[in-house]
Amino acid sequence: MPTINETVSEEIRAQARKLLEEGTVAAVIGYAAGSLPMTVKPLVVRSPEDCRKLIWNTFCVLNLANYLPATLKSVEPPRGPRDPKPEGPLPKVAICATGCWSRNIVVQIQEHQVARDRVVVMGVGSRGMVSKRKVQALFDGREILAVEEGDHELVIQGADFSETINRWSVVRDNCQTCTHPDPVLVDVRIGEPVSERKNPNPFMQVDALEQKSGDERWAWFTEEFSTCIRCYACRNACPLCYCPTCFVDDAKPQWVGKSLDAVDTGLFHILRAYHCAGRCTDCGTCETVCPKGINMRMLTKKLNKDVLDLYGIEAGMQPDAPLPLTTYTMDDPQKFMVAEPSAVKEGK
């Protein structure tokens, strides 16, 4: 009996082949097997024969929406910067998307990075992706040579051991507290829709930190980001970061220094998170790709919480609605403002 993910892989291959053979799309964005256990690599398939390389498993942690704008550009007929747009519809691209990635695609549509009519979303319900780091922590110092995946367990094999662990126990934190595992945008449904997870509180970790004193939070912040090496993997893996010149690369004015000084790395992370405010879907890719295991998702999660609390918006849920920071209402909360002294006096 095939596992759920094996069935999903089969369906992805079949649908991708069909879409390419029909000529509906010019390319399909999915995953191929990685060269190491517990890894996958993003793959853009352009011919029906290559569809056999596509896979789906529990280690699909990179956000595929990140590759969508560039892939769309790559399938357009080549033209110079001043040449007119070719007549007729441009070729389409299909992309495998879970809940959070489909929301990222919605954000890209809202921000005019992607045209809705050029994307075919192959919607896969996410059962939560496994954190490679969590698995490795369980087998400290022992080399993992192969991982076999069942529906609810993982069989971890090394040179001289083979152990079965519970899959959910090593699922990434953001997947465990996910509120929308099923895609919000679906053109081709792959597999069965997954049910909403029972989440007592998606902002548990943020709430716990908020309970602490300011000094403790500052201590957490300096400690957490002290190991950053400024490789910008978090930025590069993020589907929201598409500015041609990032603020960290600006030289005049230079907003953030390029050194490994604690203030420079701190500012980089504050501003990076802030630029994702109202757009981040908590896909967890930034944290997954970080070579130092920095928990930078806490900052974006905090912003997500505030955007939901203050403006009642979750990123990427409605393609027609404006983004929270590109709109306003007359009576937005403004408790954070300095109370007007005269008004305070009158109040007394």
Partner: protein
């Protein structure tokens, strides 16, 4: 924290919108309202022009306090600049609080062109708050090592 012995005075960077708060500051001066001389004013076209980069950059460069002030909601010269700014500042001020920047380090207010007296009061209250907090140390880039190196050279 507050080092009274050296008569420390805070440096506060004030981003004032050209149409309301800057004019309010002007009115305070013309009307001879007294307010602390700790603020350094940066005139900006609109409170919506003040980006988080500017605020963080000021903190990094050693400002002890930041004040951002614009037109009252509904009075923006550009109709809606301050409404957008309000949303952004709400998130930024919460985020800064979350990472442990002392509340009161970065302040936001609305002051109109006719509110000279209110401007003086806002500056007074912001300065008092920053004085109570003492010199900024968080997110301030220390260049002591660099200075020492330069002196040696």
């Amino acid at each position: 924290m507050n080092d009274q012995s050296t008569n420390w005075e805070p440096k506060i960077i004030a981003f004032l919108c050209n149409w309301c708060s800057y004019a309010g500051a002007d009115l305070a001066g013309v009307s001879r309202f007294q307010y602390p001389s700790n603020i350094r004013i940066v005139r900006v076209p609109c409170s919506g022009r003040v980006s988080e980069n500017m605020i963080m950059s000021a903190l990094k460069s050693g400002a002890d306090g930041i004040l951002v002030s614009g037109c009252h909601p509904g009075d923006c010269h550009y109709i809606s600049g301050n409404y957008f700014a309000r949303r952004r500042f709400a998130l930024l001020s919460n985020l800064l609080d979350f990472i442990g920047i002392e509340p009161g380090r970065v302040s936001f207010s609305w002051v109109s062109a006719s509110e000279g007296e209110q401007f003086a009061e806002v500056v007074q209250s912001v300065t008092e708050k920053v004085k109570a907090l003492g010199p900024a140390s968080r997110l301030v880039k220390k260049i002591d090592a660099l200075e020492t190196a330069l002196q040696v050279a």
